[in-house]
């Protein structure tokens, strides 16, 4: 019997370590082996425990607490899983997985990420072997070209093209770099891959290094991902021990060393030239392009940079052929894409689907629709560089071009779902707060422009918007798109532009009527007690932190609007739903 506990960051945050301890305490001395696995992507069900019987039957237990773990241990010992049936995943929840096609995530949540043997037993490193011993550099480039693989970091640039450019650059010192600085707030695909299947990244990178002729590979990981760094380090050591990393890999003439560099907290370092500056130990301020990294990159040597998900696809493509990959997807976008589905969706987690599915399929079929049966309002894709796509465009096909046409972008895979209670002006402000904070400060358009946009948005949500502010924002957006130095600045206006495009009426309501239609902007809200519903229980008056509510026992209470700080605590404590906000 095989017992695995999901130990991704999400799982651990949800309490997987405690569950692990309970299982170990109850089962280890009885000869059961309990191992860890990564993240299966069903984050809303964490912690998850998988028990596979010797006959291959899988029992997947979800939302496991310490008590449930004890029951599972008993079931394992007895071999009878009748009593724990209620703890197992429902068919409905399981459909979250069965509707997916997993390539980049193929091993995630299935194998032990800390065991290279498990990776090899799933066919790991055979693609590397194939490449080294039977394919030329151009063969690999051709295969990747056939696959149609495009950069999964957001821009969607053809991978083969970058590899070819780096390969063709003169020089014996070249670098292969993995961008694991997943900075989009609301995205965690790369973290999940590194934590759950680090060898697929290493193998993909080795193939890339072989192809461009790099002798050194560097992974630039966010410092906020400590577990990913630990697991990646371990994996590199293991690969080294087996001769997959280092000198004369698998006995060939191909050598490649690996290094991990931890980022130090700067979103802009996701931009490739800023990332290079950071790798070199400098301030992460983007360089001018050209020259492109393929010509002059890390230490001014030819360098190639791809993100984690891109590399995680490579070994599969080599093994199964580029055609198998390009068989999936649309005319323009091939293969699969991983999304981090979060926000007001019932089932949030990691979703990998072939390109070409619609947003509706992902959010409603896989994600199960909106929490608490509220109304879907918009989905945010591409994070601070992306935009909000409204309900009327839910049937948009997931494809680089089609998504760009909406004003959003494919992005790295963040997909944040919003319902009727999310203010879209507030959303734009949220992203501008982020970009203004993360701007490196080098170019004028971004440094001052994002600050000014943030200030205008702030005054709008605070009820101080002026007529003409929308037009002012639009003009700033246009100029920043045109004038900013790097991708961060050039795309920073997108959240504002898309919300203006699809939710202009919300902007107008804030500015002209001083109302927030989503009832989220506290400055524009008033709380009121309906005297016909209030029973005078005094709970709200006791709860109010600023003593803004007055009234005597058993008679209706009143809120003093001048004192009220709009914290909403009265409303949440009221048992008779007598309090409303407007």
């Amino acid at each position: 019997m095989k017992i695995m506990v999901g130990q991704g960051s999400c799982g651990i945050a949800a309490g997987a370590s405690k569950v692990m301890t309970v299982l170990q305490n109850n089962l280890s001395d009885k000869g059961f082996d309990i191992s860890i696995t990564g993240c299966i992507g069903m984050c809303w069900l964490e912690p998850i425990v998988d028990v596979t019987e010797d006959n291959g039957k899988l029992h997947r237990f979800v939302k496991v607490g310490e008590n449930e773990a004890k029951c599972i241990a008993d079931a394992v010992i007895s071999g009878n899983f009748e009593s724990t049936l209620s703890l197992e995943i429902t068919d409905e929840d399981n459909s979250f997985l069965t509707q997916q096609t997993r390539i980049a995530l193929r091993n995630c949540g299935i194998i032990n990420p800390e065991s290279i043997d498990e990776y090899i037993s799933c066919g790991g490193y055979s693609a590397l072997k194939k490449v080294i011993f039977s394919m030329s550099q151009d063969d690999v480039i051709e295969e990747v070209k056939v696959s149609g693989l495009a950069g999964r970091g957001g821009a969607g640039f053809p991978t083969w093209f970058k590899w070819n450019a780096a390969k063709q650059s003169q020089g014996d010192e070249k670098y292969l770099i993995c961008n694991a600085d997943e900075g989009d707030p609301g995205a965690f695909m790369d973290r999940a891959v590194i934590e759950s299947d680090p060898h697929s990244l290493i193998e993909g990178m080795l193939i890339g290094a072989y192809t461009i002729g790099a002798k050194e590979a560097v992974v630039y990981v966010r410092a906020e991902y400590p577990l990913a760094i630990v697991r990646l380090k371990k994996a590199i050591e293991q690969a080294k021990a087996l001769g997959f990393v280092g000198k004369n890999i698998m006995g060939s003439t191909f050598s490649c060393d690996f290094r991990i560099k931890a980022g130090a907290g700067a979103f802009v370092c996701g931009e490739e030239t800023a990332l290079i500056e950071s790798l070199e130990g400098s301030r992460g301020m983007p360089r001018l392009k050209p020259p492109f990294p393929a010509q002059e990159g890390y230490w001014h040597k030819p360098s190639n940079i791809n993100n984690v998900e891109t590399f995680a696809n490579v070994a599969w493509i080599i093994e199964n052929g580029g055609k198998a990959f390009s068989a999936m997807g649309t005319e323009d976008s091939k293969g699969t894409k991983v999304f981090a589905l979060t926000g007001k969706v019932k089932r949030g987690g990691l979703v990998e689907i072939p390109m070409g599915k619609t947003l509706r399929e992902v959010i409603f079929d896989i994600g199960g629709g909106i929490k608490n049966d509220k109304q879907f309002k918009a989905v945010q894709m591409g994070g601070p560089s992306g935009g909000c796509i409204p309900a009327e465009l839910l049937d948009t096909v997931i494809d680089y071009k089609k998504l760009s046409a909406t004003g959003a972008i494919m992005g790295s895979g963040g997909m944040v779902v919003m319902d009727e209670s999310t203010c879209m002006v507030g959303m734009a402000k949220f992203f501008l707060d982020f970009t203004a904070k993360e701007s490196c400060g080098k170019c004028v358009h971004c440094r001052i422009g994002t600050k000014r946009m943030q200030e205008i948005l702030t005054r709008i949500v605070e009820g101080n918007g002026r007529s003409g502010d929308i037009e002012l924002l639009e003009e700033l957006c246009g100029a920043i798109k045109d004038g900013a130095l790097c991708g961060l600045g050039q795309t920073a206006p997108n959240p504002v532009l898309t919300t203006i495009k699809y939710f202009r009426n919300e902007y107008e309501a804030h500015i002209n009527d001083k109302k927030c239609p989503a009832k989220e902007c506290t400055s524009l809200l008033t709380y009121e007690i309906d005297s016909s519903k209030c029973v005078g229980c005094t709970l709200c008056a006791k709860k109010c932190p600023v003593s803004a509510i007055s009234g005597t026992l058993k008679s209706p209470h009143v809120i003093d609007a001048d004192k009220c700080i709009k914290c909403g605590q009265c409303m949440s404590i009221c048992k008779t739903k007598a309090i409303s906000k407007n």
Partner: protein, 163 residues
């Protein structure tokens, strides 16, 4: 040598192993600073000067790098470092209320430390636990699906532990 008027209680020798290992490896400035922060909990001025000298950089350059990245701190932090996630999913699920609650409870804002040296608050871009949003991390422990009540409880427990 330290040129400023700060206190000199910093044991700079603790930096030696780090510098021996990395000072001559080009491009290691960020790594060295990260390790220095591991040692002291923050980056003392003296340490910055020492790193500059050992790596052949000017203090201006080292300071430039250190102030660019949000990870680096220039003041000691409290016993409990609260990292409050300000990611998109957390925002959509009400992280602003959580931030407000913490600020009111502790009387500190982003980047500040309470007078008793117990708590420091830091807003972070995304902790990557979006399905548990809103989320915060205190030292190594992650707390998810937060509500103001839950936050109050967590913080008062930590306070009680120290009474």
């Amino acid at each position: 040598m330290c040129q400023c008027s700060c206190n000199n209680n910093i044991n700079l020798e603790l930096l030696n192993p780090v510098l021996e290992h990395y000072a001559s490896v080009k491009g290691s400035l960020i790594t060295i600073l990260q390790q220095a922060q591991e040692i002291y909990g923050y980056l003392p001025t003296e340490a910055i000067y020492k790193v500059a000298e050992a790596t052949g950089n000017t203090p201006a350059k080292v300071m430039g790098v250190a102030t660019f990245y949000t990870q680096f701190r220039f003041k000691p932090i409290g016993k409990y470092l609260i990292l409050l996630c300000k990611g998109t999913a957390c925002h959509v699920n009400g992280s602003e209320t959580i931030a407000q609650t913490i600020k009111e409870l502790l009387g500190i804002d982003d980047g500040e430390t309470t007078d008793d040296g117990l708590f420091s608050l830091s807003f972070v871009a995304c902790l990557g636990c979006c399905s548990l949003s809103p989320v915060m991390m205190i030292n190594d422990e992650t707390y998810g699906s937060l509500t103001p009540e839950k936050v109050k409880k967590i913080i008062s427990e930590l306070k009680n532990n120290n009474n």
